[in-house]
């Protein structure tokens, strides 16, 4: 039975990924829809990382994952805003994160 589950899931995930690459679909996005899509990576990536740092309990309380997360993310944000190279941003902020997490907290 688990084999069936694996096969079904593999088909679903592949279909969602491949759908718009297939030649069967002839639709191509116009300039307006392309502009809409140009915001997709910024939106999706933020929707993935923001809830790692900020938690909402479903009622009224917001919580931080921790000051280590918050401060290191703030550093990453400031450096990136001033266009420091991505790899430097990742290295510096991750270093700050682990220093706070394992030495200061």
């Amino acid at each position: 039975m688990i084999w069936l589950l694996l096969l079904g899931m593999a088909l679903i995930t592949f279909a969602n990924r491949y759908l718009f690459f297939s030649a069967v679909i002839t639709y191509s996005p116009g300039p307006k829809f392309k502009r809409f899509l140009s915001y997709s990576s910024y939106s999706v990536l933020t929707a993935i990382w923001a809830p790692i740092i900020f938690h909402f309990d479903g009622q009224r309380e917001f919580q931080l994952a921790g000051f280590d997360y918050f401060l290191a993310a703030a550093l990453a944000g400031i450096l990136s805003f001033y266009r420091v190279a991505s790899i430097v941003v990742v290295l510096l902020s991750t270093t700050l994160f682990f220093v706070i997490r394992f030495y200061l907290l």
Partner: protein, 247 residues
């Protein structure tokens, strides 16, 4: 002849530097996924999968969130129908990646389209999209190398979870998920001066944080669509200025 040879060698160097860059760019995200891979492998065994089935799941489904949710649902006795429904909802955000990449991928030969489709994950999309913005061109080689790097790490960490899951119980508390935060911030914040992008980031982030406790399967794709819609309808100062000039 010499010219052709030097062109070919230039092409080889640029291909190898592209490959190296793709692997390097994917590395932080590949490291961040290790705890999830280990957890997926270990939980699958606990839920009654054989070692081969647990590994095969990562090899053919290759979707972290969908796999973890399916294993949890199966262990709780849910029906296949509800597991498939949750898989559809969780992986629906890939439709967004697929349609965004369509313009670059549609002209490629079938086998490349199949490979890029199979390897299309959050991580590969993020890294390739950043590379496309930076270089001005989509590179199939870059996308495939980045996707394959991630595929390799995901499967190795699943294997680690299958054979030694019980030794890694505190991997969760190490905070490796911060690498996701750092990488994704590095990929988005440089463009925050662009007003619609600022709106996209603020609205999708806020929506995701608010919706996560309510809609744990679908909050990412809903928040992304909210962010994209707000960015699309907000007045773009740059476009308005161009409009004024042209009129």
């Amino acid at each position: 002849m010499t010219q052709i040879r030097s062109q070919a060698s230039a092409c080889r160097t640029s291909n190898s530097s592209l490959t190296r860059r793709a692997i390097l760019d994917t590395m932080p995200l590949s490291l961040a996924v290790i705890p999830w891979g280990v957890l997926t492998g270990a939980l699958a065994i606990e839920a009654g999968f054989s070692a081969i089935q647990a590994q095969l799941m990562s090899l053919i489904v290759f979707a972290g969130a969908a796999q973890l949710s399916a294993i949890t649902l199966l262990a709780a006795g849910s029906s296949f129908a509800s597991i498939f429904a949750s898989t559809v909802v969780i992986s629906s955000r890939h439709l967004l990646y697929s349609i965004t990449f369509r313009q670059h991928v549609e002209a490629l030969p079938l086998r490349l389209r199949l490979v890029i489709g199979f390897l299309l994950t959050d991580e590969m999309f993020a890294v390739s999209q950043a590379h496309t913005m930076r270089s001005g061109n989509f590179s199939a080689l870059f996308a495939i190398v980045s996707g394959a790097t991630f595929y390799f790490c995901w499967n190795i960490s699943t294997l680690l979870g299958i054979i030694a899951g019980e030794y890694f119980s505190d991997l969760d508390s190490m905070g490796l998920d911060f690498a996701i935060v750092a990488t994704f911030i590095a990929m988005t914040f440089a463009e925050l001066r662009n007003y619609p992008i600022l709106v996209a980031v603020l609205m999708s982030g806020l929506t995701a944080v608010l919706l996560q406790p309510l809609l744990s399967d679908s909050y990412i794709v809903i928040a992304a669509l909210v962010g994209m819609s707000c960015a699309y309808i907000c007045p773009d100062p740059q476009a308005m200025a161009e409009l004024k000039v042209s009129s």
